[in-house]
């Protein structure tokens, strides 16, 4: 009798205690504390005697152009120190082969990887969060093989590699971010310059779409602000714009060889806004026409007046 009573009492008491500890008063809408945005700034200090933007032309091989452009900025050693973990972020968004110019040219990617290793990088990771099926994009873009052949670690996007981060931008508040891109000492953005039907031009700043997971298609409603938010979140060490073959129409995916044109240019810059401001001229646009470049300029991420920078053409 006593035993039963005490057992029942114990169970009841335990239930009451659990309810007391885990009681949910149902308060919603409590103002969350304003946290500082989690940004990533990988820039190296500006050197007053070296150019901030270089344009390389007149070579028959893309590799030679890459070398020329980066040498003009003072060489890769300016950006990569011994023992660095370097992330190279090409555009590997689409299931297209190099001839379509929808992804970064694999030879450009391989050359950047090689230069980073030569400058003393411990590890060079090549990765992107693709739009089409990743395995196919990485293989058919030629980047998987080209980067692997020069010793890069090629990381394919998998679901478990995305982690929610507080970007606290104007439209990008919290978003799943692709962790291999943020676990790095140095980040080199290697976009391909292309026409883009919604944002008109895509290269450096737009390439950070490949650092997001989740349903990023929603961002198209306000594409310019979201690109500016992403560029605020991620400031790369170096931007190398591949304009070897440029998609002039039907971007960003293309698909018709006739849509691409050989321009045989590489633009390298420490200023991603300036890189886009210069690059959009290649497809017959000007920086004033492209809202996200202007926003980047106004936010102080870089300058849209690239001519005001120290720049060289080699």
């Amino acid at each position: 009798m006593l035993q039963r009573l005490s057992a029942a009492g114990l169970v009841l008491g335990g239930a009451a205690a659990a309810a007391r500890v885990r009681y949910d008063r149902g308060d919603v809408g409590v103002a969350a504390p304003r946290e500082r945005p989690q940004t990533r700034d990988h820039r190296v200090p500006d050197a007053s005697d070296l150019p901030a933007l270089s344009v390389a032309k007149n070579e028959s091989e893309p590799e030679a152009l890459v070398r020329k452009a980066i040498t003009a900025l003072g060489g890769m050693k300016r950006f990569v120190s011994r023992g660095d973990i370097v992330v190279v972020k090409p555009n590997i968004g689409w299931d297209r082969t190099p001839i379509h110019a929808a992804n970064t040219n694999p030879r450009v990617v391989a050359e950047v990887v090689k230069l980073a290793y030569d400058a003393g990088a411990k590890r060079v990771v090549v990765t992107d969060a693709s739009c089409n099926e990743p395995n196919r994009c990485f293989q058919r873009s030629g980047i998987w093989k080209a980067a692997y052949d020069v010793g890069a670690e090629v990381v394919l996007p998998a679901e478990h590699r995305f982690r929610g981060m507080r970007l606290k931008g104007e439209v990008l508040d919290e978003w799943p971010v692709y962790t291999p891109l943020i676990q790095a000492d140095k980040v080199i953005n290697v976009p391909v310059a292309k026409h883009h039907n919604l944002s008109r031009y895509t290269a450096a700043m737009k390439n950070w779409y490949g650092s997001l997971g989740g349903r990023r298609n929603r961002l198209h409603q306000n594409i310019d602000v979201s690109i500016a938010d992403l560029a605020t979140f991620m400031q790369p060490t170096l931007t190398v714009v591949d304009a070897w073959r440029v998609l002039m129409r039907n971007g960003p995916q293309g698909g018709n060889i006739a849509d691409a044109k050989e321009i045989r240019t590489i633009v390298a810059s420490i200023d991603q806004v300036a890189a886009d401001a210069y690059g959009c001229q290649l497809i017959g646009r000007s920086a004033e026409e492209i809202p996200y470049i202007r926003m980047g300029h106004e936010r102080g991420l870089g300058t849209m007046h690239w001519k005001d920078l120290r720049w060289v053409e080699v």
Binding site: P106, E133, P134, R136, Q139, K145, G255, N256
Partner: protein, 560 residues
């Protein structure tokens, strides 16, 4: 070789074939490679090999299409093996049978001990059911439907493990690694990351796959495995049409059992582990068509009653299945009747469901039903998780045939893997050039339509066109119209009047049905989350001459 050794050889063979089956299943998916950009993407292994070696599949499709499709000639090898050794496939090779064998051994029932267990392994009339099922399915094939694939053991193993077990284990693993990740312990995190990477490269893929009503497929697997606790090898003895098919041919086998009834002491040890319930004990005739050749009886017999040998005398043997002629005819008639019964329902001719989007390279619907064995190889291999087992979308006859659900995944433009792994040619082995339409019309599996009441630029004066960006055809089937339209500001005016108006510039998307291939990329990426503003239906599919919209595509105007 002593019989004990032979029993161990059998166990090794079972484990090896089950491992090979699972390895092929794990490899049924594209994980990329270091091949150059121009290399055609194909799987390096014949991952559908077990299905190609399945003579029941070959027989069904032979009866329905009057042809033996490509790799299915390998099933002759299994038939030849059966003509020499009887149903040795069931006891030594079949991965699904091995699963049942294994589960019966791992989870024995308390209620099946001693005499009950011996009784449960005696030949029972219920074992005829599988023959009647097989006759019904073969007759259904003659009538034009390979619906027997529902019951083929290899199909079930691929379907249930591939679509239910693997994704479920992956899901649990994903949740577990998320929880360990939340703990924030660095070494633990990197350990789960390494494990995730390894498993994504070997067992599953780098993303979680979801399959339409796969819970049902999973429950059926659990149920049929559970039945081993009630009747050992329930599936193999009572339901398996492939076992029945091999049982019919086992009568010609050159290898078999001889019994010396005089020596038998009725100890029933031979029945304790009998797999096929084929009457190995003395005093009754051995049932050659039921025996799995597991050799447990000879191994258990203390008196040397049982001997397996080549060209045995058949005095103590019943070679033919113990089926009644009338029942066999009745079940065949019932099987044949399934087809008209299913077809006079509205689903094929009168009210074809718009959701039945078949994989690229599929043959026309009636021929598709003649060929598709519902093995789920295509669903397993689809890199975008686009192909799913239909429930009743394609009618009762189309259950578990593949349909594409674009909201979950779209058909990858340059991918032809589903045709590569299809064992019966329901999905033809098309090349990339055929699919993309290089020098010919591309393969279309449907057509996209806009729901202009839900589309952001159409209904809400908001820019979007993600669909246009993802449209893979060249020229794009989705084109945009540049418009400047009024938009009301969502702020009340100062003086309480209507909110102010402004104008915005948007691009309104349109579909060109003559260019659209129905891949569903637009539907997959549409940001209207619950019910997309652009959706694909199967009209305009290349495989049909009647399911068309445009005049120039009507069957009077199409060659071939």
């Amino acid at each position: 070789m002593s019989i004990r050794v032979l029993v161990w050889v059998r166990r090794v063979s079972q484990a090896g074939f089950l491992a090979l089956f699972l390895y092929f299943l794990f490899q049924t998916g594209f994980r990329g490679s270091f091949a150059s950009a121009e290399t055609a993407v194909r799987l390096p292994l014949p991952v559908e090999a077990f299905l190609l070696a399945d003579p029941f599949v070959a027989a069904m499709t032979l009866l329905s299409t009057h042809t033996v499709y490509r790799g299915l000639v390998w099933s002759l090898g299994l038939l030849a093996l059966t003509l020499v050794f009887g149903r040795v496939f069931c006891g030594w090779i079949c991965p699904f049978g091995t699963l049942h064998h294994f589960f019966g051994w791992i989870f024995p029932s308390r209620y099946l001990r001693g005499n009950k267990r011996v009784e449960s392994n005696k030949t029972a009339p219920r074992q005829r059911i599988k023959y009647y099922l097989m006759y019904a399915f073969l007759a259904a094939s003659v009538a034009g439907s390979a619906i027997g694939g529902l019951f083929d053991p290899i199909c079930i193993a691929v379907r249930a493990i591939g679509l239910a077990v693997i994704p479920a284990v992956q899901y649990v693993f994903g949740v577990a690694s998320f929880v360990t990740g939340q703990a924030g312990v660095r070494p633990l995190q990197s350990a789960t990351d390494v494990a995730q990477d390894f498993l994504a490269q070997t067992v599953w893929q780098s993303k979680q796959f979801y399959f339409h009503h796969t819970w049902f497929i999973g429950i059926l697997l659990v149920a049929v495995l559970f039945m081993n606790r009630v009747i050992p090898r329930f599936w193999c003895r009572v339901l398996c049409p492939l076992g029945a098919f091999l049982g019919v041919f086992a009568r010609f086998a050159l290898f078999g059992m001889e019994k010396d009834h005089a020596k038998c002491t009725d100890c029933n040890l031979c029945l304790v582990n009998c797999q096929g319930a084929d009457s190995p004990q003395g005093g009754v005739k051995w049932r050659q068509d039921e025996c799995h050749m597991c050799l447990n009886c000879e191994s258990a017999c203390p008196e040397d009653v049982i001997k397996f040998r080549f060209l045995p005398n058949r005095k103590g043997t019943i070679t033919k299945p113990d089926t009644g002629r009338r029942t066999a005819i009745a079940s065949a008639a019932a099987g044949a009747a399934i087809v008209p019964a299913a077809r006079i329902a509205d689903v094929i001719d009168a009210n074809y469901d718009h959701r039945v989007i078949r994989p690229p390279g599929s043959v026309e619907e009636r021929e598709f039903l003649e060929r598709c064995i519902r093995c789920a190889e295509c669903m397993k291999v689809c890199p975008n998780n686009a192909l799913h087992p239909a429930f009743f979308e394609a009618g009762v006859e189309g259950i578990w045939t593949p349909i594409l659900i674009p909201r979950i995944g779209y058909c990858e433009h340059s991918c032809v893997l589903c045709g590569q792994v299809c064992p019966t040619g329901a999905i033809q082995k098309i090349t990339e050039d055929q699919k993309l339409g290089l020098g010919q019309k591309p393969v279309s599996i449907g057509t996209a339509f806009y729901d202009q009441g839900r589309c952001l630029p159409w209904a809400m004066a908001t820019p979007c066109i993600v669909c246009e960006e993802f449209c893979p055809t060249s020229p794009k089937a989705i084109w945009v119209e540049e418009v400047t339209i009024p938009r009301r500001l969502p702020i009340a005016s100062e003086d309480g009047k209507e909110p102010e108006m402004t104008t915005v510039h948007v691009q309104r998307p349109h579909v060109d049905p003559s260019l659209c291939i129905g891949c569903g990329a637009c539907e997959k990426v549409c940001p209207v989350q619950d019910k997309p503003a652009v959706y694909v239906t199967n009209v305009g599919e290349t495989r049909s001459k009647t399911n068309v919209i445009l005049l120039e595509d009507t069957n009077y105007n199409r060659p071939g």
